[in-house]
């Protein structure tokens, strides 16, 4: 090509303004949607109609927006789980398994039952939350301990434990707790359901049919907690220091092995909480495929959010919308296509943070 000018990338020597990362990420998302529209056009679709439909199915009305948030809720929690581990450069890709074990442990409260079913609702829900946390933490502890003690690669162990967790769940729902031969446990008692807005439809008419449940509050609370740990706490400082330079951390007297175990447990606990919120807020029973891969999407969410807890919320909502739209739009692969393109575009938009682009007229070039 013989353009009259040349495009050059120059390494930035100055800091980018604080708003710039958010802006380039947003730009990346917009460009991703434009590219998706072009692909749609080429394949014979009508991008405008699809776009309008997409909007209506995700953000267009209160009930659909609530659907989007409901899908975003587990993503927020697993996204946070991954962010915490990644901050210390622990590659926990086992959020999926921790999610399942969290769900399993939370179910125990109802299925064993651990607390009598005639206890007050808050006791039941409270113990489910605690059990979800314990289950996830346990599933994070195993790879954390192996890594800390024997330096076993956590990528492999967390990945393998995903399968163990899913099969473990299956064993119980196929065999022990099967509801009339179906691969699911009987429906939980209503007391074990996280409150939904729809439950208050009698008092507030507007809430009828709105599935939004308390899990989102747990998600927000977790985001605030993770943020304050990173920003304000001693532990967060240790995580950052170990993540940036483990040798320096050791030199400074930090206990690295203990932190590996603790961070993996914390990460697992958040993912386990996601499992709890999903079965108690949405599914209301333990069954097969309670997660369509939330644990893996959480990795992408954490990455796109650059491990920032509040950015995790926004990215989760966007991905929640894509999941909802994926259900509504045909072919259903479209939403996944868009997901992939977004990932590409947002990650490539990082170039703009590290380089500035300069146009140089050809004739000015002498070298």
């Amino acid at each position: 090509m013989n353009l009259p000018f040349e495009i050059r990338l120059e390494k930035r020597t100055e800091d980018v303004p604080r708003w710039m990362p958010a802006l380039t990420a947003l730009g990346g998302v917009i460009v991703a949607f434009l590219i998706s529209a072009i692909i749609l056009k080429i394949t014979g679709g009508d991008p405008l109609r699809v776009g309008k439909f997409f909007w209506q199915a995700t953000f267009g009305s209160w009930p659909t927006f609530s659907d989007t948030i409901v899908k975003a809720t587990p993503l927020i929690l697993v996204g946070l789980a991954c962010s915490v581990a990644f901050k210390m450069k622990l590659w926990n890709i086992g959020a999926e398994g921790q999610f399942y074990i969290g769900a399993f442990f939370a179910s125990l409260v109802v299925l064993v039952p651990i607390v009598p079913m005639d206890s007050p609702r808050w006791v039941i829900l409270g113990s489910m939350i605690v059990m979800g946390i314990i289950g996830g933490a346990l599933w994070g502890f195993i790879p954390g301990y192996l890594k800390a003690k024997f330096n076993v690669n956590e990528i492999i162990t967390t990945l393998m434990l995903n399968y163990v967790a899913i099969l473990w769940n299956n064993f119980w729902i196929f065999d022990k707790w099967s509801d009339a031969g179906f691969q699911m446990t009987p429906m939980f008692d209503k007391k074990a359901w996280l409150p939904r807005l729809a439950d208050y439809a009698r008092q507030y008419r507007a809430f009828s049919g709105i599935t939004l449940h308390m899990g989102v509050v747990i998600g927000f609370a977790a985001a605030i907690l993770v943020w304050s740990i990173f920003q304000r706490s001693r532990w967060g400082y240790e995580i950052k220091l170990i993540g940036d330079n483990p040798d320096a951390a050791r030199y400074a007297g930090l206990n690295i092995t203990r932190n590996i175990v603790l961070v993996m447990m914390f990460s697992g606990a958040l993912a386990g909480l996601a499992g709890m919120s999903e079965i108690s807020g949405v599914v209301h029973r333990l069954q097969e495929r309670i997660s369509p891969g939330y644990g893996f999407t959480g990795i992408i969410v954490a990455w796109l959010a650059k491990l920032n807890p509040f950015a995790v919320i926004f990215v989760s909502i966007l991905f929640g919308a894509l999941i909802v739209a994926g259900r509504e739009i045909q072919p259903s692969g479209l939403a996944q296509l868009i997901q992939g393109i977004i990932l590409f575009m947002v990650i490539s938009s990082d170039v703009l943070l590290r380089y500035r682009i300069r146009l140089i007229r050809r004739k000015a070039l002498t070298a």
Binding site: T13, L241, D244, A248, A249, G253
Partner: protein
């Protein structure tokens, strides 16, 4: 008069012509401006290097030397200014462009792959050979190149087997193989032993004899005086002396040009008043990273108010010694601090026993590059009042603390929020020193504390160490700078292959005796031998 230069086979005709061309200048940089947030690192800098000269670039820590060289090697693009190479205006977008114009830079931190051989490292990133690597022929090519410049190192050795000095030779060979005619050496001697420094200077001389040009950054003024033809001095981003001849300039005058004031080279030291034994090391044994014995039974004691110098050629167990005392490396034997057995205690416990450690490697061990100055300075006290309070960190106290250190130790940076990796080499060292000294330690293990510091800063740091001694700290000073050891230490232990060759008093011992011990003679043997030995018998 000049020998035929090594011209890589893939050089084009025009490249050859440029090299042979007419202007007397190899490099002309005019009005270069580079701005970092909060700093004008290069403020309209003019810098010119002639063909066939060694040009020293001097300046205080953070003066902008590395930045200017990064511009010349294509890493940064200046906001203003022009560059001419052999009279031709150029614009570099990346280091690749600069290499194509014959510019090669040896960074202070080497960029080699430890598990590959020398030849493989040299070929890395080149398009040649395209398909088949005829290792035999390539090794031969590299051997010829070595022959020519006296840069001996086995082409088939793996990088991890080489000493720092040899690794540096590989870096230089790498640039030469790429056809560099203009070499930039950023503080090359900071990591070398005296002997290696002499060899490097020999190489530098043979390179310029062929018409190549060398830009040499160093804080060691003696070296600069022996090897450089001309100097350019930067201060706070501005040129204060442009291309003046070195002839006749004394070390004192050079120092004055650099820091803009008189520098005292001989710090005054009070009489040593040793107190209680603080550190007692007995029969310490440890292995190095390769699993080979590094310490073979080292014993000594250090008292409060005393500086024990450890002299030795690098790689004789000094780094391991420091690591064993500070809990970073497993060992056998005994390390008692204030009488308490601390061998193999965790680093945290040893820090809690009020031991400071100025580590050898400031980037890999001493600091966290992507954290701020604040986060780096609180590294060892984040859990103590008032910074660590309960489970939280009091950010405003932390910032105030960092600001205090930044001012007291004259760390040059726009603010305490600046990331550690953005500090200049010397300022990073100052940050570490500030952190380690300000905790009022009872024992300081200092490894090369003044490495990479400018003359002014060295003076300040030496003062600080002596002050700590005055207030009763026990100090183990590990250094390869004999001059520094002689000036600061109350006693000097010489280490060779993991053993202490003897303990001497610097006031009554000459450098020559210490030099002999550094190469493996025991003090007893030297004292009994009557015949003075030849120095070159090493």
């Amino acid at each position: 008069m000049t020998r035929a230069a090594f011209v890589p086979p893939w050089f084009t005709c025009s490249q050859r012509k440029i090299f042979m061309g007419e202007t007397p200048f190899a490099v002309e940089m005019q009005d270069i401006v580079v701005r970092f947030p909060g700093v004008l690192a290069n403020d309209h800098v003019n810098f010119a290097v002639k063909k066939g000269e060694i040009h020293a670039l001097l300046g205080e820590n953070g003066a902008g030397k590395s930045t200017l060289m990064n511009v010349l090697s294509g890493l940064y693009q200046p906001t203003e200014g022009t560059i001419k190479i052999y009279g031709q205006p150029v614009r570099f977008n990346s280091p690749k462009d600069a290499i194509a114009k014959g510019i090669g830079m040896v960074h202070q931190h080497f960029m080699l792959v430890p598990t590959l051989t020398v030849t493989e490292n040299i070929l890395m990133g080149l398009d040649k050979p395209r398909l088949y690597m005829n290792m035999g022929r390539l090794n031969q090519e590299i051997r010829e190149l070595q022959e020519q410049y006296g840069l001996r190192v086995d082409p088939e050795a793996m990088i991890w087997q080489l000493s720092v000095g040899e690794q540096q030779r590989v870096e230089i060979l790498k640039t030469l193989y790429r056809g560099a005619n203009i070499l930039i050496l950023d503080e090359p001697t900071a990591v070398l032993a005296p002997q290696e420094i002499d060899e490097l200077m020999e190489t530098m001389r043979s390179l310029v004899a062929e018409g190549k040009s060398i830009i040499f950054i160093s804080h060691k003024l003696q070296e600069v005086r022996t090897v450089a033809d001309r100097i350019t001095v930067l201060r706070k981003g501005k040129v204060t002396a442009e291309g003046i001849d070195i002839g006749g300039l004394s070390r004192r005058q050079l120092a004055q040009l650099m820091v803009g004031r008189d520098v005292v080279f001989n710090v005054e030291k009070s009489e040593c008043q040793p107190g209680d034994v603080v550190l007692q090391v007995e029969n310490l044994q440890a292995t190095n990273n390769k699993g080979l014995p590094a310490l073979r039974g080292v014993s000594f004691t250090v008292r409060s108010g005393e500086i024990l110098g450890i002299a030795g050629v690098s790689g004789n167990g000094q780094s391991e010694l420091a690591e064993c005392i500070t809990g970073l490396r497993p060992a056998t034997g005994s390390v008692r601090i204030h009488g308490k057995e601390m061998i193999n205690a965790s680093p945290g416990k040893i820090i809690a026993a009020n031991v400071s450690h100025i580590p050898e490697d400031r980037t890999r061990v001493g600091s966290a590059p992507n954290l701020s100055i604040t986060d780096n300075t609180i590294m060892k006290c984040y859990h103590e009042d008032p910074i660590g309070n309960g489970i939280t960190i009091n950010r405003s106290h932390a910032r105030a603390y960092a600001r205090r250190l930044k001012d007291a130790y004259d760390i040059l940076a726009p603010s305490v929020h600046t990331l550690a990796r953005k500090l200049s080499g010397g300022n990073l060292q100052k940050m570490i020193l500030a952190r380690e000294i300000s905790s009022n330690p009872e024992l300081i293990v200092a490894v090369q504390p003044t490495r990479g510091l400018d003359v002014g800063a060295i003076e300040a740091i030496q003062r600080l160490l002596l002050e700590q001694r005055q207030t009763g700290a026990a100090i183990v000073l590990i250094s390869e700078e004999l001059e520094e050891l002689m000036a600061l230490s109350d006693r000097i232990a010489v280490i060779y292959e993991g053993r202490i060759m003897g303990m001497v008093d610097p006031k009554t011992t000459d450098v020559y005796t210490i030099g002999q011990m550094m190469t493996g003679s025991r003090l007893e043997d030297i004292q009994t031998s009557t015949e003075p030995q030849n120095e070159s018998a090493v």
